[in-house]
Amino acid sequence: MKARVTVTLKNGVLDPQGKAIEGALGALGFAGIGSVRQGKVFDIEVEGTDAVKAKAELEAMAAKLLANTVIENYRVEIVD
């Protein structure tokens, strides 16, 4: 199975990279850009066929390692 875990910054948490990209996009002449927030994705191959079980495992991985839950949210999807 293939899964994707998406980790994004919580609202209100400062995002220095996103800010810098906003600035750079403006300077490149892209107009009409509001805010930019940067996050991460993890594409993970999981053995087995039980999607429910896999999802639960992935949630645990995200909570335990992939995201810093003080500042980040995560979402798990089974892709196929």
């Binding site: 600035g23 750079a24 300077a27 490149l28």
Partner: protein, 737 residues
């Protein structure tokens, strides 16, 4: 993907960078058509990067020995004795083409490669430098390249944990299509515990260590020797990605393994990875090597023999180990989380035999791969040296202050702080002189006072005008920079960056530069112990400025006596050591202020260079000077400004009445010169020492105040100079493009 029985067509041969006569040579050597894997192996071994086929003849003319040289060129890095049973191991290498294609990863893997060269020999890296050349600041790609290269150099070195303490940055339109990224690394080892690549013993395991093999940079070494054209986009997927964390583990694991005595021979996998490293270990030891590719740890599925043999995946090593210590060795690598696999063994039949999935995919005479590589005596022409330019024929500034401000704030002369603050130059806790001076100095760990000095130098515009004098000057300036901190220059490494050697004028530049380098090395007892050649730095027929970068190492028995460039005390006397400035041909003044790149470069009188340098070093070691700076780009007034800006302390100086030209005196780039400051109480001793050495010493004025004042000519605030000097780089890089 191509299979091993792919027919060998002329197109395939050409796409491997092999000329028809080179292919004929292959047919003659092996008496049959090569397999695809064999063709790949030949192309890797016989390209310029590995075989040095255009440069070998000339490299042989360089002086490479000396009382302190333990190992000269031919191994992964040069080894030089620094007393107390210790050795410094160093080398420089280019990663020019990859850095143009992907600046961050190109520069990062360049740093990774040179660090590996150093620790492969058993040394823990203690210093790194980088010589960077970019196109014109207003070229649309320049900012992106500067930003990527600098963060790549830092990204790798900072994480690996080596202090990056020096380097050079230049801008010139001739690098618009071919930037130069030359990385230097130096490491420390015990002189009796150096590791070499020569395999010994038949039937011994050949062990693969480090990261797994992927399809990274397949064909990379071939790319490094090919001229760029507009089809460059197509070459992109061969980019390698660096893993500094993996390399740090590899360093620790290798050093730990070396302590066990298990290592007979070791070679890192650099350009053309497994091929070059295995052939080198076997050929050097007069042994054959047999590899079983099914044992090679791979990162990707279905890799062909061809891909495995040419992969340039980073952070990998090949070793020959004592069989009885195999387990011990494996345990060390497992502890560090690294791959360890026996992938072959040494044989006595002098064949390089590769097995893959039950078949022999290559079977070649191992010695011939290296020894029988083509060697060219390429035709060359020496371009006539430009007409000399007399200072009297160069316009004098109306406003010296304005000119000085412009010079110290120009792209090539502005402070490089923006660059080196992105490099961890303090790690290891031994940095005694940070970037920003004439040479960086680090303390040798375990000693209180013993230090090593490092400098990287070349003046490409001089080399372009006169390759011979330019080559001499590169060595002389490096030697001078080491001397200016009080070090005894020991030996150097070179990175010879040129255009297409198949053009006789380019070959002429190469030959001239090497002759100049050789002459200077001999005169200064400054042998070349390692180096690298990068040719074909040319895009659409436009070649780079000839750029033979020189990295030098010096020894300081007592770092407490080290000199720095900053003015220290109000009232110190400023003394010029060496002759007066007169020469404005090819000077920064001429180029930055008058927009002309003309005339001959200054010549270096090597005997004088040595005489003046030995005097200055003696003064520094005798603790007679409070500051010292060599004179180079921008001449005397620029040097005084740099000494003033370093601490925000000014000076009042006067130039002699009977000076040939004032701007020649103040901006001339005559060689073999220094400025020192001394306390008034020792001035007489200093001038007496100079007189005795037969060296001119001219009192120029005194340190003090907030202005740099040249009596009757100009006066300018040091703060204002500093503002221009410090701000050019950050301001330039702050503009997004």
């Amino acid at each position: 993907m191509l299979q091993n029985d792919t027919p060998i067509t002329p197109e395939l041969i050409a796409s491997h960078g092999l000329k028809p006569d080179e292919y004929q040579r292959i047919l003659d050597l092996i008496g049959r058509e090569p397999t695809l894997t064999e063709l790949g192996i030949f192309s890797a071994m016989w390209n310029e990067h590995c075989s040095y086929k255009s440069s070998k003849k000339w490299l042989r003319t360089l002086p490479t020995t000396g009382p302190r040289v333990i190992c000269g060129p031919g191994e992964n890095a040069g080894v030089v004795d620094i007393d107390d049973g210790q050795a410094i191991i160093f080398k420089m290498e280019s990663h020019n083409h990859p850095s143009f294609i992907e600046p961050y990863q190109g520069a990062a893997t360049g740093v990774g490669g040179i660090l590996r060269d150093v620790f492969t020999m058993g040394a823990r890296p203690v210093a790194a430098m980088n010589a960077l050349r970019f196109g014109s600041p207003d070229h649309p790609k320049t900012r992106h390249l500067v930003s990527g290269v600098v963060s790549g150099v830092g990204g790798y070195g900072n994480s690996f944990g080596v202090p990056t303490v020096g380097g050079e940055v230049n801008f010139h339109p001739r690098y618009n299509g071919n930037i130069l990224v030359n990385a230097f690394a130096a490491g420390l080892a015990d002189a009796d515990k150096i590791f070499y690549s020569k395999a010994e013993g038949v039937g011994l395991p050949v062990v693969y260590l480090g990261s797994k093999t992927g399809r990274d940079g397949v064909g990379g070494a071939t790319m490094a020797s090919a001229e760029f054209d507009e089809s460059i986009e197509e070459k992109r997927p061969t980019v390698q990605v660096g893993d500094p964390f993996g390399e740090k583990l590899l360093l620790e694991a290798c050093l730990e393994l070396m302590k066990t005595g298990a290592v007979i021979a070791i070679q890192d996998m650099g350009a053309a990875g497994l091929t070059c490293s295995a052939v080198e270990m076997g050929a050097k030891g007069d042994l054959g090597i047999e590899l079983d590719l099914d044992k090679v740890p791979c990162r990707e599925a279905n890799m062909t023999a061809y891909e495995m043999m040419l992969s340039e995946s980073q952070e990998r090593m090949l070793m020959v180990l004592r069989p009885e210590q195999e387990e011990e060795a494996e345990a060390i690598f497992r502890k560090w989380g690294l791959d360890f696999a026996i992938v072959g063994w040494t044989t006595d039949d002098l064949r390089f035999r590769i097995r893959h999935q039950g078949a022999v995919v290559a079977d070649l005479p191992i010695k011939d791969l290296g020894d029988q590589a083509p060697e060219y005596d390429r035709p060359f022409v020496r371009r006539p040296v430009p007409a000399a330019l007399a200072a009297a024929d160069v316009a004098e500034p109306n406003d010296y202050a304005e000119v000085l401000l412009k010079i110290v704030s120009s792209p090539d002369m502005a402070s490089r702080r923006w660059v080196w603050e992105q490099y961890d130059h303090l790690i290891q806790g031994n940095t005694a002189q940070k970037p920003g001076g004439d040479a960086a100095v680090i303390r040798v760990e375990g000693h209180d006072k013993k230090g090593l000095a490092f400098s990287l130098d070349v003046t490409p515009r001089y080399c372009e005008a006169d390759p011979f004098e330019g080559g001499k000057q590169a060595i002389a300036e490096c030697w001078r920079n080491l001397t200016a901190v009080g070090a005894e220059p020991l030996a150097a490494t070179d990175n010879l960056n040129f255009g297409n050697p198949e053009k006789p004028e380019i070959m002429g530049q190469f030959v001239g530069a090497i002759e100049g380098i050789g002459a200077a090395c001999r005169a200064l007892d400054f042998p070349i112990v390692s180096g690298n050649v990068s040719l074909y730095n040319e895009t659409n027929g436009v070649g780079i400025l000839p750029t033979p970068a020189i990295g030098g190492v010096g020894l300081m028995p007592d770092i407490d006596a080290m000199a720095t460039i900053a003015f220290k005390n109000e009232g110190d006397v400023i003394v010029q050591i060496g002759r007066d400035g007169t020469h404005l041909g090819q000077s920064i003044y001429l180029r930055e202020i008058l927009g002309r790149e003309e005339g001959t470069p200054p010549t270096v009188d090597l005997a004088e260079e040595r005489r003046v340098g030995d005097l200055v070093r003696g003064l520094i070691r005798g603790r007679l000077v409070t500051a010292c700076h060599d004179l180079s780009d921008g001449g005397l007034l620029t040097a005084l400004a740099e000494m003033a800006m370093a601490r925000g302390l000014g000076a009042t100086v006067a130039i002699p009445e009977a000076v040939a030209t004032r701007h020649g005196f103040l901006f001339g780039e005559d060689q073999a010169r220094y400025v020192v400051t001394v306390s008034p109480s020792v001035l007489d001793a200093v001038t007496a020492a100079a007189a005795e050495a037969g060296v001119e010493a001219r009192v120029l004025g005194t340190v003090g105040g907030e202005m740099l004042d040249v009596s009757g000519i100009t006066t300018i605030s040091v703060a204002k100079l500093k503002q221009g000097h410090d701000n050019w780089f950050p301001d330039f890089m702050a503009v997004s493009d």
